[in-house]
Symmetry: C2
Subunit: 213 residues, 2 copies
Amino acid sequence: MALDKEEMSEKVLAIAETLLNEGGAQNLKARTIAEQAGISVGSVYNLFADLDEVHRAVNMRLLDRLGATGIAAMADLERQGVTDVQHRILAMAAAYVRFVEAHPGSWPAVLAFNRRRATRPGPDAYDALLDELFDIVAGVLKAGDFDLDDERRALAARTLWSSVHGIVTSGYVANSDSRQAEEIWHQVELLVGVFVKGLEHGGAFAHAETKPV
Amino acid sequence: MALDKEEMSEKVLAIAETLLNEGGAQNLKARTIAEQAGISVGSVYNLFADLDEVHRAVNMRLLDRLGATGIAAMADLERQGVTDVQHRILAMAAAYVRFVEAHPGSWPAVLAFNRRRATRPGPDAYDALLDELFDIVAGVLKAGDFDLDDERRALAARTLWSSVHGIVTSGYVANSDSRQAEEIWHQVELLVGVFVKGLEHGGAFAHAETKPV
DNA sequence: AATAGTTCTTGAACAATGTTCATTCTCTGT
DNA sequence: ACAGAGAATGAACATTGTTCAAGAACTATT
């Protein structure tokens, strides 16, 4: 007896993830998937509307896993009784860095795809997942005794996480030497250190009158 | 009489930039370029080895222009006698934000392409341009009286700029409402405010013992 | 000016790929 | 056993990147 429709979808997604990880979005071909899954090209299109939907589904799985990783990292710290804000943020950042390193090919694809969908319909499940990550960071910030109302703390969480994200992705533009990995981590350490110190000293309210236009 | 080889290359690049800006990398097709430039498909391949090289050339132009914009913004401040570090950094960030907003389609394409080239040869002209931008930021940081040696200041500059970059690109994942634009600018303001305050209070040396694994 | 050689241009042709759909197959309920 | 619904198939089509042999245009030499 053959695989369930659900099981076959899983199989296809696993294959797709491997393909993406090995060669990026360029490497996600209908015929390759079909061949490796032992089904025909048409059957792939029976399971998913088009390759974009396959790509989207793979991304959702990755983001889910990243969320789980982050929560797991937080739980670890909880278990160890670590309450220092800087340590906890660094641990989350470390989890993020590790995750990206573990998916050298498919993570860039997530970002590229994510960007492409700018013109698509309204709010997505993507946003929900990202908000979840932001909430975790905001929760950690709440533990610190910075003088922030909820709104400003949420802004700080988004800012901090976007910054970590920027460092990690900018860093992996160049060759992924171990030297590069060190540079990334040094930047993350500096960012988090400066950020926490800055929050402690009220830097979140240091308004300047420069306008963006 | 017809156009020079150089002039025709320019024309092709201008067309390519428009195509990228309108529809991203997907929209950069050899036949479209040829048609709009009034030449044949083969001639495009006479001017450029392949479409990747066209894309690369467009990106170089964009990065060049971004560099020029940043330098111009700096010169403006110089002329106005602004020496405050926070103001100057914010002005640079504003220039960056404006630039990205002005190239809604092609800037994402720059990033996506940039990422794809990870497996390519060695150091590129890209890196030189990025280093140039980092140097400008480092120069501004030097004006502040933070207690940083050259190496640490360079690291701080790369960190700060990567962070701004992350905020801007993360922000443009979602719809490019004006609300989104405001959110981005709020994040940039908060980042720069916190960053400067953090540097003032020695946050750049706040080492934690958490290792990335 | 005529000619030989060089370079550029062309567009037809090929290969790879996303996507569709009429046909065939398979299974389920009666 | 059989009818019908649903799934699987893979040939066929459209689009696109890329190549290349043939022709056109230009340059330098005599």
